[in-house]
Amino acid sequence: MSEPLRGVIVSHAAVAQALLAAVAAITGVHDALVPVSNDGCDTGALAERLTRAIDDKPAVLFVDLPGGSCLTSSVRLARGKANVAVVTGVNLAMLLDFVFHRDLPPGDAARRAAEAGSRAIRTPAA
């Protein structure tokens, strides 16, 4: 079996670290995700952080916003690479689904995670 996918959470400030801690607390899975913050980075420095986090492994990049420096750096890095996919609007629900489906190809895992994340956004009657 090929190596399981790596998830890289790319965020402003400490959002990525906090999401990683929440996933570990809920699932007990500690080795599926890597946090990357854009704090103090220009585009070059953020690209270096992302490259280190991906470490030439097949990966899905979970970006916080559908625009801005986290997205632009992630998409540039994933461009032309079949083994790296990008999802925006990261939330806890999509990460919880992802850590148990790391055997999929990156593009399929990204689409599955996006669907799981979308399903979690609701407006329940209170």
Binding site: G40, D42, G67, G68, S69, L71, T72, R76
Partner: protein
């Protein structure tokens, strides 16, 4: 209203520009002055993704910006102009162009630069460039988001 903010930020269009400044200023257009982005439709699409559809994004080379600056200044809507480095914005302040204020919003660590503020790293040459801008009558301050006070040039160069 014209261009309300001339900003130097190596991240170009990102959250602080679109949301941090764009919301309180009620911005209707953003001008991104960058020769490399201007030459790449793919890069332009990438930067456009982070901007709500009601805000127009204009991509310009430095040369095009020099030609169109007066037009943008006369635009009745509120706009932000962003450049990624001091050279580009300094080029817009020469001759007849009425750029009176420049906001240093984000220049991050690179070899040869030292930390001046949490979000501003400058080489000595870059600090000198900003002082030259100020000597030309341009008010230069550093401010990442509008809720923080602007930092006078002499406090970070």
């Amino acid at each position: 209203m014209s261009i309300a903010l001339y900003r130097i930020d190596d991240r170009l269009i990102h959250g602080q520009v679109v949301v941090g400044w764009g919301k309180p200023l009620n911005v209707a257009f953003i001008v991104l002055v960058d020769d490399a982005v201007r030459a790449s439709a793919w890069e332009q699409e990438l930067y456009r993704m982070g901007v709500p559809s009601e805000i127009e994004v204009v991509f310009a080379s430095t040369e095009e910006a020099l030609e169109r600056l007066t037009e943008w200044e006369r635009d009745p809507r509120v706009g932000i102009l962003v450049a990624g480095d001091i050279d580009t914005l300094a080029a817009l302040t020469v001759n007849r162009h009425p750029v009176s204020r420049v906001n240093v919003g984000g220049l991050h660590h690179r070899p040869g630069r030292s930390e001046r503020l949490r979000y501003v790293y400058l080489s000595d040459a870059e600090a000198s460039q900003l002082r030259t801008l100020a000597a030309r009558g341009v008010e230069v301050t550093a401010q990442d988001v509008p809720t923080t006070p602007p930092v006078p040039l002499e406090d970070f160069t």
